[in-house]
Amino acid sequence: MQNILSWITANEQMFYIVILMIFVGIEVIGRVPSVLHTPLMSGANAIHGVVVIGAIIVMGKAEANNYLSLILGFLAVVLGTLNVVGGFVVTDRMLEMFKSKKKK
């Protein structure tokens, strides 16, 4: 208990950021028309690709002779980039169709 409390105090600001972000996420999505669920899902999917930054950091810190780290890190960078780039491109492709139809 003591432990948890002091952990919370030490990371107070982190907790605020997390909790506020949860509110933002919920509020932002709150009233979406179901027509947009698919592009929204894939757009959100692309955003969590931000994890690639962790991969880059891991990779960039690995010593040149630590092959395990290098290989795993390289894989992580590739997969993370896939998630980001693929996610944004596929979302854009979907939304492009929506848009061009509307202008007509």
């Binding site: 949860i22 932002v28 669920h37 757009g43 959100a44 999917n45 969590h48 690709g49 590739v78 491109v89």
Partner: protein
Amino acid sequence: MQLSILTLLYLIASVTFIIGLRMLSHPATARKGNLIAAAGMALAIFGTIFLYRDENGNKLHNYLFIFAGLILGSLIGTLAAKKVKMTAMPEMVSLFNGMGGACAALIAMIEFNHLSTLLSQVPDITYPVAFVTNDGRSAIAGRLLIILAGLIIGSVSFAGSVVAWGKLNGKVKDFSFKGQHIFNIVLLLIILSLAALLIFDFTKSSNNIFYLIFGLSIIYGVFFVLPIGGADMPVVISLLNSFTGVAAACGGFLYNNKVMLTGGILVGAAGTLLTILMCKAMNRSLLNVLVGSFGGGSNAASSTQTAGNYKEITLNDAAVVMSYASKVVIVPGYGLAVAQAQHVCHELEKLLEEKGVNVTYAIHPVAGRMPGHMNVLLAEADVNYEKLLEMEQANEDFKNTDVVLILGANDVVNPAAKTDPASPIYGMPILEVEQSKLVIVNKRSMKPGYAGIENMLFFQPKTSMLFGDAKGVLQKLVAEIKTL
């Protein structure tokens, strides 16, 4: 200085994520929102590469590998995203999601190795190490906790997404055994106990436990998704999406990296809500989807015996009836999507319009296997946006409609949703096609649809069946109308 700029870039990126997601929720701004979020992401990535400094002020190295990885990933990602068919969109999203989960799990793995190497170098360390004490070690415990969370959530998300992808692809079949839910729960408990063991009691053999946890998490991910009906996959994908978000946020905690933290949490929260909204749109609860009461297995059980007499219509008759109608409404459904018949459907529509028939589409929000599936499909086939009526509007129009042509839709026009309180879809809003003068239903057989239930609409006097694959039937219809 560099670090300050990086902090600022991260802050900007976090804001673009929020704004991007916000704009994604409105049809008019969605595309721009996506681009804004992408720009913020680029800022964050390149900022990290060039400006990141570790605690001792060192730059990153291994630039070659990093750029190779980035370029490779971008190439594959772009290619895949550009090549994928519109109908295969859920698979694609699921696969990308799995990649993100795998990335998070890999990071956790490397960081664990790092930590355990560091520990083994501490001169007079005595195993087992109990990290959860009141001295400095609790910081290590916190670190381990986050690493394990990232590993477990990332792995489950990865394995689950790949299985979901396989199911949507048709490569993986539904599979469940008696007591599977219990099995899953026990598995999860074992994983969590092992994780607790690792944190409270770190020994030399902990490395093995770590990989055991990894393996079990992968297995759990597979068994978590396997029994869920293939048609429920969009919900599952959305759920796994939010899992990956949380896994990314774990990375943010680990590196005290705010953009990973905020981005991950944002998607985690938004994804969870989106999952719930999707369930609501299908008139089901999340638990019901996960436990799969009618998601798939039950489909097989439901019989093909029909509850009355139906009549068929010939291609020629159908062609004549539609050509001389003044108002035709097309109701597309899942069958249209699997048959890839959207283009020929658009052709039919144009042909009829040339003959002076007023043709519109009635789009049910959960027609197909993804929310908004039909809108995306028909948009791809270049159907004019204004011809797509939403459910409420369509329901007002059916009164004045001569012919309703149902193409591979079933549940979304099932009157049981309104009349039969015992039906599993009772309460779901439906397209009330029976208000029109004539209903033509195209499907391949009398088999039920996704919910696995009989549709009394097919036995009504004003309904005629037109059996066959949607694409083939439409092609023949088009040819027939041209000869009229």
